[in-house]
């Protein structure tokens, strides 16, 4: 089964709005969580990540919340902009000597309409 799951294949939000992308995982040994952003015909790039010793990390308009007991993490985007239109991939993994075998979700296609 899918170890990391994104419940929404697609989302649309008005420019300036707030949105939340959700991700659930199965393996409670996972201790590293990340969100990657991917434009069409481009490679994924890291947006924000968090380790399991914190439950929140903020970077500008982007905040990741981690709920370890619920095996859930989310990405909050505020003041959304047209350039936020992309596919967002959540990923989770277990630290293994400094490397994480990252497992990705299916992706959520976000459209920010102006």
């Amino acid at each position: 089964g899918q170890q990391v799951k994104q419940s929404s294949p697609s989302l649309t939000v008005q420019e300036g709005g707030i949105l939340i992308l959700n991700c659930d995982y199965e393996n409670d040994m996972f201790d590293y969580f990340a969100w990657y952003k991917k434009y069409p015909d481009n490679s994924p790039t890291l947006l924000i990540s968090v380790r399991s010793n914190v439950d929140k990390r903020e970077d500008g308009r982007f905040t990741v919340f981690l709920n370890k007991s619920g095996k859930h993490f989310s990405l909050h985007i505020t003041a959304s902009q047209p350039e936020d239109t992309a596919v967002y991939l959540c990923a989770a993994g277990e630290n293994q000597g400094g490397s994480a075998k990252l497992i990705f979700g299916e992706g959520t296609k976000l459209t920010v309409s102006s």
Binding site: S43, P44, N95, G97, S99, K101, L102, F104, E106
Partner: protein, 115 residues
């Protein structure tokens, strides 16, 4: 300039042919990965390499093998390609700090079509 380079960018092969996908990185990263991306499935890990000749299966290794003879190069090989291996393949690398996971840097992908 930190870079992961994949060759070729596009490739069309016939069923049964051998396929070689090449990946290089100039960051001296120990860990390298091969993923494939299919609609509705996200990125699926095929193989992970922790260093030269230190490779480990990912979630979908069947039908693939890899080779890492130099730290900066990681190859994905399909012996006798199948039509269900039509996909976009991404290579990635990451720095292993010994204590925590780090960012994955992805190549631009190879779009493989098996006819």
């Amino acid at each position: 300039d930190m870079k992961v380079t994949q060759m070729p960018r596009y490739l069309i092969k016939r069923m049964g042919e051998n396929v070689l996908l090449e990946c290089g990185q100039d960051m001296s990263h120990e860990t390298m990965y091969w993923y494939r991306q299919d609609p509705g499935l996200g990125l699926q890990l095929i193989y992970i390499s922790y260093d030269v000749d230190s490779n480990s299966e990912g979630d979908i290794p069947k039908g693939y093998r890899v080779s890492r003879k130099k730290r900066e190069h990681f190859s994905l090989i399909l012996d006798s390609a199948k039509t269900n291996q039509t996909s976009v393949y991404f290579c990635a690398s990451s720095l292993s700090t010994g204590s925590s996971a780090e960012t994955l840097y992805f190549g631009s992908g190879t779009r493989l079509t098996v006819l």
